[in-house]
Every structure is written in structure tokens, then in C-alpha cells.
Assembly symmetry: C2
Homo-oligomer: 457 residues x 2
């Protein structure tokens, strides 16, 4: 490894856009979770796929680690350069390459954020539905197989990425997939790259499927006497095939947090936040079905957000749940869990989690993309209290173990990064060593986001 | 390679179920397309995953090629043991392992066919929607990433396989994926195996997502003055997001063939065959929307198949299109193409194909899963006329080249097998060598369905 020589050669390619300024290094050493500050040795602000290829070739020559960076919203430290080296920052590769209106797809550079993309699409009648909450980049969402509130209807990134351009570990540029809706031509390299967290190749262009903007949209909240009633409502809605666009559980403690943070006055019991997309008649039919199901399980009256601004305020409040939760204990930070289980196991999983959190003496409000069996507890901890952090990690660990025991996964959508490495053997068994075999085949020098996802040494 | 020693050891494990009888070898040397008869050296009628693992370990010891066999309906010679060795026949591993009603999923052995599965599911209120026409096994459909008439609504096998059990090339047994609806835990080994055609591992169990049986189902056909009008109807329906369950184009010549074969009396112009799934109100709304779109493009009145038997007869006629087409020229065989293009390119692609077929003096009726941009021409050839076969291959080749030129794929659903190997470099570029890298990593001895999918030597 000779990072200094790599930096010198990269500077010859990028000039000023290869930075070793402390402010740039510091910015790319941060993360949104509790992982330690880890700055890179240099940051490359690339502007083209060819530049990425040139940088990778130089890094391959000097065994210099490479970590891609979107906008830094990941929650498991994916973009922290834990072995040093260069961070490739995609903020200057943030353009739409081409919109294909008739085909309902679009080619974009990795640095565009989902909100930027949807702003550009507004006049086309199309939109990109995946919404992880954070205004993440499309590159980052692809690399972590993101999903979020709308996955119950529209799927995750694996279902919405049609094709990719990828720079391999030796600098070669490949294209995976096509713009056709389906193909049986060979191994599914597209879906191998989706969720690979920068460890198999560097994504430099993404072709996304788009949806037509729905003719009608309606959102409502509904309160429940307890979490189980809310979850049972969701299970029945899923079983009946209601094509609901969003159905989010927010537990009583999180309602309190959101009320405080977003100045709302919801009754402090568990709620479902729902959104319906379709024709006017379709939205009406879905709403009636959901009213009938919620009634069966003791849900209250629907409170509708009929205007766009009201609806945006509702989802903004939902998306601000993390800072809202932290507001319950000023000065505390949040340790976020990301369990996903078969939906039949969901009510028990959440109930067990709530009990464990309470027994541990922690505050840990819960919300979830319950239509997918995915939920998050935000375990509030004093960053200066190692005992409390250890207690929270114990709770998170037991949640993960219980998820695996019922056929679930330790991460529904946040990804592996640094935080979930320790569960990979338990979740995948020998499959984890197959992942390492693939990593060795595609990145024999282990320069692409090294130290993440697999054990290759 | 020492196949004889491998056979002796496999016989010790399986007894009579390791067959070298000529009738068994001959049966597994056939295919539904025009590829040459290629029998294996032995056939293993396995009954458990452990037996598959034992067989693979013996084959690894002696470098003996292994080819999995479902029910032999593939159209590109996937299951032909072109390097000899043992064929693993899954007909005795054809059970449902467990149905999870609440979770809408099911675990099955690979040898169960889709019709057997749906017969077993009938009383549960659930069904498995993917319908490639042939009564293929779920293992074969998974291995070839099958799709068919319902993919426009329900997706392909890649969208409906949640998890797999796989025997690796060294005999280890792994599980990929979970029964949870989504996961971000590592490389997507499930979707790497889906469509890998037995070259990366041997699938021994499949967890499938299921759908609720729709409350209402309706089917109709509609005639059009020309193919372009029918295709433009489909493009608009897709753009408007009509959740149609099936929308199939059948061209005028294929209508004639189906009329003859299935004793029907449709007017001999291009048709769309449609099916609607949903609530009563939803099906009504979809039908009205489709009537309005078809009217706009010159479509005739809808002819409804309201009774279940009528509907079954309609789709049976559609599924029998291949023998129907061959009936146009008794004694001829069919060379089937499988182009898939972005939907904006579909009308031109089909028009160019029709012209090329006519100019070549061939008969080649066309039908297609047009909602996905996927269509098939059945080029009728005299198997004893090498010039005619060469002419047909020329037409198929130009169809493939035009598909690639507009961002499509040479195979929408049939897979690579023997027939599409020659296009892999053109479709994937350096991505094809990445596929070979993965193959070498997972099957270093090249014993799993060798000679298919990638070039490793």
C-alpha cells in the first residue's frame, strides 16, 4: 500500500478536485450514527465515469482503499473509510442523464438525491417512489438496497433498479442489465451490485423504473388501543392485498416524541399512518376497506390529510421521528435497530422488543414499515455512559437474535456497514463465505470499501 | 474426470435410483427445441437435499459434470448434459414443505410443477401467479428466471423467490434470503442463483411469495386493424398504470393457427388477449379504462370470457400457440425467438420482424407478453432443409441484433442455455467476463452444468 503515491497521481488527474484539506477530510469522516470519526487520506470530487475509472486504476496500482460517498445519510457507517485511502465523493455527478417518458424509466448519475430527482420529474407525470426518509443519493440508495415507507407498494431498490454502469476494481467499466423490463440473459449482476455497499464495484450510473404520478392521493392517521391491534390491522390488509402505498406504525412513545417535536396533538396511543395512491375510485375503495379492517381491530376514526401541504406535514413529522425521539432526552443519542420478520411474527416481535426495552430501563420509541414486517426502535443512550450503551446494545442484540430465530433478518433496509458485520455469520451460515468468494473474485486486492460486508483475510 | 468411478460411488448411495438404463438416459437427452439429442452417462433420481449433497461431493471428487433436470420444458437446451456426466432428476423431490398462510409464502421442493402447486393451494385462498405456459417445475422456473403471461402484473421469478436452499459445487448446503419480505443483509445470493441455470449451485428448495386469489377475474379479447394499433394500446395502458394481469398480443397469422388448432373462429387480424384481477369494482374500472384505450386505437368490441371454463379455454388456446403454429406447416418444426425491448421500441421491433420474416419467405407467426416489451416469433422450418434453417437463423440473428441496438435483451424469459451463448459477449461486454469470474469462484472445477452461460477456459 502506498497511499501518498496514489494521492500524487490522482492529483495529476483531478487537480484541485483531489483534496487533502482538513475540512474535506473531516466532513467525510463523519456519520449519522454513533460510529467513531474516521477521516480518509484524500477526497476525490469526480465529475465523470472515466475519472472514476482513472482513480480506481491508480488505487489498484498502489493498493489504496477506495470508499464511495453519496451524501452521508447511511446509518451503519457504510461510507466510513475504516482502512483509510481515498473517498470518492459523487456530489458533482448529480445529473439526470436521460428521461425515457414512454418507457417509464430514467438514467441518472449516482450523486443526485431522490428529492432532486423527483423535483426534475414533476412536470413529466412520473415519479420515483422509493422513500427512505433521508434525502439520500440514488447511488447510496442503490448501494445499500434502501427501501422505506413506500416499499409495501413499490418494492425496494432491488425492484426498481433496471440497469447499472459500474467501475470494477481494475478500472474496467461495465454495464449490467438493460432498459427492457425483464431479461433472462445471464447472472443478475444488477441485483448483485444493488446492496453490495461499494465492496464489489463503484456505481457510476443507475437506470431506474419510474411510476406514473397517481391520479389521486389521500393520507390518514388512525389511533389504536395497543400495538397488537395496529399490527393485526396491517396483517389483514396485506393478506387481503390492499395496494396501500404507505402503512406505518408509530408507537405511543414515538407519538409523544413527534407531538413535541413537530407541534402536533395526536392522542398518545399507537397509530397507523397511511397513504393511498390510485384513481379516485380506487383510493375510495382502498380507504373503505381499510376503515372496515381498522374498525374490526378497535381503531379510531380516520383523520384525513386532504390537502397536499397537510399531507407533506404529516410525512415530514414521520420522517423527523429520529430527531423527535432524541428530543425525548436532550443530549442523548439514538441507537437504531432495523429488524425485519415474516409478518405473522411481527406483533410478537414488537411486543417482545417493547418489554425488553422497558425491562432494561431505557427509552426506546418504535416505528415501523409494518406492511413489510420491518420496524425500528430508537434506543436512547447517554453517549458518555458506557453502561447505558452496553445495555442498549444488549437489547439490540436480543432483538436481532429473536429475528433470526423466527426466519427474519437483522437488517431490513439499513444495510450491513460496520454495525451488522457481527451477525452475518449467524444470518447466512456458509452463505457468508460464498459472499467472500465473490468479493475475492471481483476485488482480489480488497481495495473497494475494505473491511466491510465480508471477511476475506 | 472419471465418470465410471463416480457412477459406482453414486450407486452405493442411491441404489436403484442411480440409473444407467438406456430408456432413462435417452429420456434425459431430449429437449423441446431443435438441439441435438445428448444423453447423460447416468441419471440420479434424488429424494433429499442430503442425497444431492452426497452426489455432488462424489462428482467433485471425480470431476464428473452434473446437470439438473426438472421436467424438461426449457426451450434453449439448458438441461442437456453437453459434457456428459450425471443428470440429477428432481421428479421425486416434488413436495410442498410448508405453507405459511399468514405470511403469503410457501416452501417447496424443486420438482413440483406450477400446476401441482396451485392445485395444492386452491383451498388456501392463495395462488402462485407466474405462468410461463408450460407446466414447468418451480426449480426449473427459478433456475431460468421464467416469467410469461402474468409478469406484467406480478413480475418474474426474480420478484417472487424469497429464499433458496442451494447445494454448492463442493457439496455444502447453504440457505440464501429469508422469509421476511425484504433484507439488506449482504450480497443478494438469492437473485444471483435465480437465472443461473444450474451453473453456480443446485437449487434444492425454494421459498416463494404467494398472492391472494383475486375476488374477481375477467378475461376478454379485442381485435385490431394492425399490430401497431394493438401495441400502442398496450403502451398507453402501461403508462397509465392499469394493473392488468395479462395483456398478450397475438398477430393475424397466429390467430389463424390458433383458430385451426383450438377450433375457434376469431377474425384473422391482430388481437389482444387480456385478463383483469381485483375486486369487483376494481376489475370493472380496469375494463372500462381498457375499453376506452382500445377504442382510441381502433380496437373492436371486447369479447368476454365470463365463465371459468371459457376463460380456461381461452388461455389454453393461447398456451397451445406453439403446437398451433407448427400446425400451419405439418412436419415443420419451430425456431422460437425471445426478444425483449423497452416498450417505446416495441411497435417498430415487431414491425421490423414481420417484414424480415416475410422478405425471407418464411412463415413466422408472432405473439408476445407485450406489456413487458417481450415477444416471440415461431419461425417454421423444415428440419430436413438446411438452407431454410439457415434462413430462419439469419432472421432470428437480425432480431437479436436489432434488440441490442435499442437497449433490449436477446432473451426476455427463455434464458441462455445453448442457443443464446453466442450473444452474451455482445449483450454484456466485459460484464460477461465478470460472470465467468463468479462462476470460477463458486465452481472452480467447472462441474455444474458445464459449457453453459459463461466461458471459463
Amino acid at each position: 500500500m502506498n497511499i501518498d503515491k496514489a494521492i500524487t497521481e490522482m492529483q495529476a488527474v483531478l487537480g484541485d478536485r483531489l483534496s487533502t484539506k482538513k475540512s474535506d477530510l473531516d466532513f467525510h469522516g463523519q456519520n449519522e450514527a454513533y460510529y467513531p470519526f474516521t477521516p480518509p487520506d484524500a477526497v476525490a470530487f469526480v465529475q465523470s465515469t472515466q475519472e472514476v475509472s482513472d482513480i480506481v486504476k491508480i488505487c489498484a496500482k498502489y493498493d489504496c482503499p477506495i470508499t464511495p460517498w453519496g451524501v452521508g445519510t447511511s446509518l451503519e457507517g457504510h461510507a466510513l473509510p475504516i482502512k483509510g485511502g481515498v473517498t470518492i465523493d459523487f456530489s458533482q455527478m448529480n445529473k439526470i442523464v436521460e428521461i425515457y417518458n414512454e418507457d417509464l424509466n430514467v438514467r441518472v448519475q449516482p450523486g443526485i438525491t431522490r428529492e432532486e430527482l423527483n423535483a426534475e420529474l414533476r412536470t413529466t407525470g412520473l415519479f420515483f417512489p422509493i422513500d427512505p426518509g433521508a434525502n439520500a443519493t440514488i447511488g447510496g440508495m442503490t448501494a445499500t438496497r434502501a427501501s422505506g415507507t413506500t416499499a409495501v407498494r413499490y418494492g425496494t431498490m432491488k425492484d426498481n433498479v433496471l440497469a447499472l454502469e459500474v467501475v470494477l476494481a481494475d478500472g474496467r467499466i461495465i454495464r449490467t442489465g438493460t432498459r427492457a423490463k425483464k431479461s433472462s440473459a445471464g447472472y443478475d449482476l444488477t441485483r448483485l451490485m444493488v446492496g453490495s455497499e461499494g465492496t464489489l464495484g463503484i456505481i457510476t450510473e443507475i437506470t431506474l423504473a419510474l411510476q406514473g404520478q397517481p391520479e389521486a392521493t389521500a393520507a390518514a392517521i388512525c389511533d389504536f388501543p395497543d400495538v397488537e391491534s395496529a399490527v393485526n390491522t396491517v396483517i389483514m390488509a396485506v393478506q387481503m392485498g390492499v395496494p396501500i402505498a404507505r402503512i406505518e406504525l408509530v408507537d405511543a412513545m414515538m407519538i409523544r416524541a413527534i407531538n413535541n417535536y413537530s407541534k402536533l396533538d395526536m392522542v398518545e396511543t399507537p397509530h397507523l399512518f397511511m397513504e393511498f395512491h390510485g384513481s379516485e375510485a380506487g383510493v375510495g375503495e382502498q380507504s373503505e376497506t381499510m376503515k372496515s379492517i381498522t374498525g374490526e381491530f378497535g381503531g379510531g376514526a380516520f383523520q384525513w390529510s386532504t390537502k397536499v401541504e397537510e399531507r407533506n406535514r404529516l410525512w415530514a413529522a414521520r420522517h423527523n421521528a429520529y430527531p423527535a425521539a432524541r428530543g425525548l432526552k436532550p443530549g442523548f443519542t439514538g441507537l437504531t435497530t432495523d429488524i425485519c420478520v415474516p409478518i405473522s411474527q411481527l406483533a410478537k416481535a414488537i411486543g417482545d422488543s417493547e418489554k425488553d426495552i422497558a425491562d432494561s430501563g431505557l427509552l426506546g420509541p418504535i416505528l415501523g414499515h409494518v406492511g413489510d414486517g420491518n420496524y425500528h426502535a430508537t434506543l436512547l443512550v447517554d453517549p458518555n455512559d458506557p453502561d447505558m450503551i452496553a445495555t442498549a446494545k444488549g437489547v439490540a442484540h436480543r432483538m436481532a437474535e429473536r429475528a433470526l430465530a423466527v426466519g427474519g433478518t437483522v437488517t431490513g433496509e439499513h444495510g450491513v456497514g460496520i454495525g451488522k458485520m457481527k451477525y452475518m455469520a449467524a444470518e447466512h451460515g456458509d452463505g457468508w463465505s460464498v459472499m467472500a468468494d465473490i468479493k475475492r473474485a471481483l476485488d482480489p486486492q480488497n481495495i473497494l470499501n475494505p473491511g466491510k460486508m465480508v471477511q476475506v483475510n
